[in-house]
């Protein structure tokens, strides 16, 4: 059991670390946000499951479960807010598909008419 828990915790930490490396290595703000949002979420899930297996007490499982649920709710919301702020300031390059800019322009146009 300790072995399983250990493997899960190390795996979780590895995903989180790789996400950190990805956030450094990727080329632009948007790409950097992908690992920053996804990595720690699964990482924390794995660490929490590992810790729950090792601790095996109801209070610990309850608290860890809450931690995971709150992380799954909070991490994407954070990324969402960051992404929307970036998009308002920094449009994509011209050759890239950007349906958000297209639709925003269309909505503006409809409001003006």
């Amino acid at each position: 059991m300790t072995l399983v828990a250990g493997i899960l915790i190390v795996l979780g930490a590895t995903f989180t670390m790789l996400a950190g490396v990805g956030a450094l290595r990727f080329s632009d703000v948007y790409a950097r946000m992908h690992p920053a949002a996804k990595g720690p979420t699964l990482g924390l899930l794995l660490v929490a499951v590992g810790a729950a297996i090792e601790l095996r007490s109801l209070a610990a499982v309850l608290a860890l479960g809450l931690v995971v649920i709150l992380q799954f709710l909070a991490a994407p919301v954070g990324a969402h807010l960051l992404g929307r702020a970036i998009h308002q300031r920094l449009p994509l390059q011209l050759d890239e598909v950007d349906e958000l800019a297209r639709d925003l322009a269309e909505r503006d146009h409809r409001r003006d008419v």
């Binding site: 990805g22 992908h34 809450l66 969402h80 958000l100 639709d103």
Partner: protein
Amino acid sequence: MNRLTALSLRVPVLLVWFVVLWESLWGNFTFANLFSGVVVSIGLVLLVRLPDADLRSYRGGRVRPLRAAIFLVYFVVKVVQANVSLAWEVVTPRNTIEPGILGIPIRDCSDALVTLIANAFTLTPGSLTIEVLEDPTVIYVHVLHLHDPERVRADLFRLAELAVKAFGTTEALAQFRPPPIAEATP
């Protein structure tokens, strides 16, 4: 149930829920914890505007447990897949990133369900929700690998469909049925 009774029912339920949350996050039950929990909960309920976040929409959405389980399993598999592919992307020197932003229209869903779908998009492979517009509701996602936009779109639709099947209304479900043959063929 009118708005006022709904509200007066909701506040005590929220209070109890927050205190339970507080206690379980501390991990042990003491009277000092209970007291601080009650104080923090009352502060939260009074200071923060808490919009109704029921997964079932007011228009007859419901939770279908089996469908919810299918969604959860599919979602967890996708989360793992997302992380494995990102990890691979990080450790290999090749750069295959071709970014873009796609709009995914979602009809007839409650705010809570739209939030769930938007969050699910962020945690699944290659997509990250950056904006949600309303009237009509469209979720905009930043996509890392946009070599085949229609395939990415189909994947995201599939995820949204599973979420709507688990929690959505019958009207919301209708949008995922294939269009009639007459429309499909040009």
